[in-house]
Subunit: 348 residues, 2 copies
DNA sequence: GAGAAGGCTTAAAACGATTCAAAACTCGGG
DNA sequence: CCCGAGTTTTGAATCGTTTTAAGCCTTCTC
């Protein structure tokens, strides 16, 4: 039953096993794998045959240990279940593929601890760069990472420092767009379901909200009802509405949600409460995700160039690597766009 | 400016650097890292200080090379942008976290080649197991993988062989549920937008469709209009409808889409064509994703236990690892459930 | 037919962590 | 003051690959 190959137990075959079987040295096997044209055809065939017979698969750890690094970059987004981020990730992947980099994608779920854990995991695995949508004050960790030679690009957030690049959409403007729109429709009491201000997007969109109110001469104390939720998804939105309805005081006539997933949950809860949209409550979301236009009441939303966002971030990261010291850090900022639909404007 | 540490250039510090700095041997540093209680407190503190000063981060490659393996499992799903799969992935993660495994998640985009590439990547990286939603006849590759010592569990598909476990939902039944429902509403000419039959889910749901037609005494040649699309997402659904409308012959009065994302696209296209739903066309989707109930016309859909699916698959994989040879392979199958809404039934 | 020039192949030295047998301590008791 | 039993610490071997200098063949030139 047993072949000429002596019992290698069930260890996975190494380059040494292949070399033995093919009757060559390990160096030659390595050459076949990495510089096939430097090996004579006869030898090459013999080695390839042995590889085939042994079902040899390279050991990435050993490769990487020797080579020092590997063509991989890591990305951490806030919520992988959010279509906004999967579209961004697709953009990242498309750019990376062109340079034969692979992507390790993780979701921090807005939890700084999870973010830190993945960051460390990435570093231990020797990624060359990371793209992060920071969930909280993780800037120091990112700066340290950068100092240890791992390129960093911030994703969907504007860099607070000059020596880290970022690609973002103008969230202040986006928040303002939403509120200007609602004010334009005559609303003077607006609810705002937002996440923790430690999340840059939440912070900035809120700044835009306040800015728009100020421009219109409205006092936030009267005009704005802020509700903070823990997770920026449908469940969060539902919880936000429940809290709003539990509060005393004048009911707002309009609602701005920090993203579409949240708006989806809010709409669900509003329906449960029997609120007519937009008649009794005008609703605006953010991201213009794929299903926004298809909802019971089509959702007015702030659109962002998702694919381009990811693509550009990856491009910046790769260029940073290839250009080295001469690379100029930059803050790329795209502009958002308001898409008006029936959830805010009955005439739309 | 320079400290006592001699120029380590900008190489990332190794355990040796830490050892030198702390004035101990590398073995001791390793002990501090892995068996801290075997090291005296004084030494431990000295080493920890050095680690801190040097900003030392373990090299996962070296660790893994020596240890032979690492607590990681890989998962490949058909489409990471599909909420169905992100919910499944969440279930996987939850189970893995309990045993301190990490997850590498990738999307094959229904492309067998991409799937093979990721499978190899996972293997090279030494994952202990993989969970795969196969996109096509990749069974041989998976069997080979299993023979090379990597545990395999099929995700959202029933295993065709006895020695690989699987966790799935009864797609034949699900397909039948959808069609029985439509037939019950009086439809006798039904369109079916489906993906390639090499994808097991597509194949099985179709089997259920045919089964339900047969039971009702309908001839598929008359009653069924099949449309095959390339990608199971909203764009695919839109393309499917365009193709349907380009065809001659009686227009079907009902539509079954292989998943909700596809149905979303189909609904969008139907709206563009000015088709009333459900009056002129009853629509049923599959997966009951988060937004299904919130669409303009709430979508009738076949619901699956997503989180449980992922959790169970991960559980099976981990048990397979820990129980070794005594493990009994099994095919877990959950039952789907039809959720009737307005897109098919005006009275709903 | 000697020497040079190439083309292939080899052997050995890394890479950074873990492990384990052995050495070096410590401490109490005789 | 030595012995022995712990307790800590050490140093070398090891994991699987890549890389490099050196060596061996051929073949070619004069």
């Amino acid at each position: 039953m047993s072949t000429t190959t002596r019992g290698r137990a069930d260890r996975r075959p190494s380059i040494t096993d292949v070399a033995k079987r093919a009757g060559v040295s390990v160096g030659t096997v390595s050459n076949v794998l990495n510089r096939p044209d430097q090996v004579s055809e006869a030898t090459r065939d013999r080695v390839l045959l042995a590889i085939e017979e042994l079902q040899f698969v390279r050991n990435a750890s050993a490769r990487q240990l020797r080579a020092g690094t590997i063509q991989t970059i890591g990305a951490i987004v806030l919520d992988i279940a959010n279509p906004f981020f999967t579209e961004v990730a697709r953009g990242v992947e498309d750019r990376l593929a062109a340079d034969e980099y692979t992507l390790m994608l993780s979701s921090s779920d807005e939890d700084p601890e999870r973010e830190a854990r993945y960051l460390r995991l990435f570093e231990e695995h020797g990624v060359q760069g990371v793209m992060v949508t920071p969930s909280a004050g993780s800037l120091d960790a990112l700066l340290a990472l950068r100092d240890r030679g791992i390129d960093v690009v911030l994703l969907d957030t504007t860099s607070p420092v000059d020596d880290i690049s970022s690609v973002a959409v103008d969230d202040v403007r986006g928040g303002a767009l939403a509120i200007e729109h609602l004010i334009g429709l005559g609303h003077t009491r607006i609810a705002f379901i937002n996440g923790p201000l430690t999340i840059k997007q939440c912070h900035d969109r809120r700044a835009g909200v306040l800015e728009a109110l100020a421009t219109a001469g409205l006092d936030p104390a009267d005009a704005l009802v802020e509700i903070t939720i823990g997770s920026l998804n449908a469940d969060g939105g539902e919880a936000g509405i429940d809290e709003l309805f539990a509060r005393d005081g004048d009911r707002p006539t309009a609602l701005f949600c920090v993203n579409d997933l949240t708006a989806l949950g809010a709409l669900r809860a509003l329906r449960a409460h029997g609120v007519a949209i937009p008649a009794e409550m005008a609703v605006v979301g953010y991201d213009d995700v794929v299903f926004a236009s298809m909802l019971t009441v089509p959702l007015t939303s702030v659109r962002q160039p998702t694919h381009q966002l990811g693509w550009t971030a990856a491009d910046l990261l790769l260029r940073q690597r290839s250009e080295g010291a001469s690379f100029q850090h930059q803050r790329v900022q795209f502009q958002p766009e308001l898409v008006v639909r029936g959830s805010s404007d009955p005439s739309a």
